[in-house]
């Protein structure tokens, strides 16, 4: 989504004239005046903290050093070494990886199915689109409260529905094996709407003639989907995968509300771990953990820019 139009040059970028043109200087002054408030806020509240966080990750800063943040000890990569050797951190890294590899395919598959369906219909399309998008605008905390209630062992809506068909539903959120997948399902339910809009827009760029031509050739619906639609949608799918991955890497609120990270840390994520360490006052360790997560996000961002660069060449 974002960024794809960036590649499209909007104003003709002429070669800058060598002499100093008064209107150009006026423009430059005006531009920096307009940029100033954003820049100041950006430096103080984003760029500064991003660098400070990196700096803190190499120190032993704790909550007791709050008033003297510059008088702390430099410990090199000790925080990182401690994290990587910590069984709990290994566990939250694994959990975060599981959120990613379970959540991204599931969310994408559901969003793609919805988009393909919506692309086939015209009557009531707006209603379906709004309905599927609805959870995206709601607070994760609020829907987590609702789903915690819905997934209850006894008296939960899901197990009540399962009981109708004779299935004795488990205690979804109390099980070390089922809790994480349950959170993934609930997240996919909440997030599929935005991907669906992106995929639907991608599907609508595929000319109907292409489908009609293959239909005349006798290709089945599945063959057409597999060999025409999917390849043509590839850039959109790739983009969707990257932004969804970045989202799942930061998984936190669902686990905070629905399972408190349990049972037995089976749903605790890297962000949750970072928040916990902050709560314990271990600021240096928390900063190091957040930077390892940042590293993962940067890798996926890199993939995205590679992909956007690819599009630019066309």
């Amino acid at each position: 989504m974002a960024v794809s139009t960036v590649s499209r040059p909007t104003a003709p970028v002429g070669t800058p004239p060598r002499h100093v043109d008064p209107t150009r200087r006026q423009q430059a002054v005006a531009a920096w005046v307009l940029a100033l408030p954003f820049l100041v806020l950006f430096l103080v509240f984003t760029a500064g903290p991003v660098l400070a966080s990196l700096g803190m990750s190499f120190t032993d800063i704790r909550s007791t050093d709050m008033r003297t943040p510059f008088a702390v000890g430099f410990v090199g990569v000790e925080n990182y070494a401690r994290l990587l050797a910590d069984p709990l951190f290994q566990k939250v890294m694994l959990n975060t990886f599981l959120y990613l590899v379970l959540g991204v395919p599931l969310t994408m598959a559901l969003a793609l199915a919805a988009a393909v369906g919506l692309n086939r219909i015209t009557f009531l399309r707006g209603l379906f689109r709004v309905g599927y998008y609805l959870p995206v605008v709601t607070s994760i905390v609020a829907v987590s409260v609702v789903w915690k209630f819905l997934l209850r062992d006894e008296g939960g809506l899901l197990n009540a529905v399962l009981a109708l068909v004779g299935i004795n539903g488990p205690a979804w959120l109390d099980s070390t094996t089922l809790a994480l997948p349950s959170l993934v399902v609930m997240s996919s339910w909440r997030n599929l709407g935005s991907l669906m809009i992106i995929f639907l827009a991608g599907l609508q760029t595929i000319p109907t003639e292409v489908n009609e031509a293959t239909e005349v050739d006798g290709a089945s619906a599945w063959q057409r989907f597999r060999h025409v639609t999917l390849p043509m949608l590839r850039p959109t799918l790739l983009f969707g995968a990257v932004i969804t991955s970045i989202g799942y890497l930061q998984f936190f609120e669902e686990a905070f509300v629905m399972t408190k990270g349990g049972p037995l840390d089976s749903t605790r994520s890297v962000t949750f771990f970072t928040y916990d360490q902050f709560g314990f006052g271990n600021y240096g360790l928390a900063a190091a953990a957040s930077y390892l997560l940042f590293l993962a996000v940067v890798v996926f961002t890199f993939v995205q820019f590679r992909f956007l660069g690819e599009r630019k060449e066309r």
Partner: protein, 276 residues
């Protein structure tokens, strides 16, 4: 063409989409229905679908015994400030990036794009140290200042303003209008649709924001709605399902209402930021 074969296939599509729609909407319906059930019925096994008896007790507790009116106001004030800031600062820098030529432009735009990818978890610890040292912890400015100028607003406004005709700006320049005056009197009045979209999206994002308000609001009086709801749901009220669901209704229903009324702007905004 294959008209005859299309109809039953479409019927299957409608059946599947309708089933999906039920799954998407049902949790919200159940949330509302359960929030007006008396305590004993909320926890009944098996659960009831329609309330046997309707009561507003849960809402009465939220708004009289608990401090939900205050949390609601905190959420509104923070979201309003964040929205105003993003619209103002976003359109300022967005205009500069879209229509002005100046040294450093590419770097600045690269910076904005990079910032889009920075996860909140990376900055919250140093931000907390900063807000504590300048005395902003437990204050509303402490909650909204870090979000006052986001990259998304700049990006969206730049995309929109890029599409405005250059001729109008050139004409104003020929008439001798200064650059800032052109921004205020020529460009801004044409930005209505983009401002509406950005305003709505920013308001929703701020309303639902969780990690930073959770960190910076140590004092109960400064909680926003999601913070209050999350802490109640893991604290001593964890089993008061009726109360928690009523709280979820208070958090969710205003944004659903805003979304349903203004959904055209939101869908447009997603298109404007570059899908298509």
């Amino acid at each position: 063409m294959a008209r005859a074969g299309t109809r039953p296939r479409n019927r299957m599509v409608y059946v599947a989409l309708t089933l999906g729609l039920v799954v998407m909407i049902l949790p919200f319906v159940w949330m509302v229905l359960s929030s007006v059930k008396p305590d004993a019925e909320v926890t009944a096994v098996p659960p009831t679908w329609w309330p046997q008896e309707i009561t507003l007790d849960n809402y009465r507790v939220l708004f009289t015994k608990l401090d939900f009116p205050r949390y609601f106001m905190n959420s509104v004030l923070v979201a309003a400030a964040v929205t105003a800031g993003n619209v103002v600062f976003g359109s300022m820098l967005g205009y500069a990036l879209a229509k002005l030529e100046f040294p450093g432009k590419r770097v600045l735009f690269g910076l904005v794009l990079t910032t889009l990818m920075i996860p909140g978890v990376v900055t919250f610890v140093p931000l907390f140290v900063l807000t504590t040292n300048i005395g902003l912890t437990d204050t509303l400015p402490g909650m909204f200042l870090p979000f006052l100028a986001g990259p998304f607003g700049v990006f969206l406004m730049r995309q929109f303003i890029s599409g405005l005709p250059d001729e109008l700006i050139q004409a104003a320049r020929v008439d001798g209008a200064g650059e800032l005056r052109i921004f205020r009197s020529v460009v801004l009045p044409m930005c209505g649709p983009a401002v509406a979209t950005l305003g709505i999206l920013t308001f929703l994002t701020s309303w639902n924001n969780f990690l930073w308000p959770l960190v910076v609001a140590q004092d109960e009086e400064k909680y926003t709605l999601p913070v209050a709801l999350a802490l109640y749901s893991v604290g001593q009220n964890a089993t008061k399902y009726g109360l928690l669901l009523a709280g979820a209704v208070v958090v969710v229903i205003p944004v659903i209402a805003i979304f349903l009324v203004l959904q055209r702007h939101i869908m447009q905004g997603i298109a404007m930021t570059g899908i298509k």
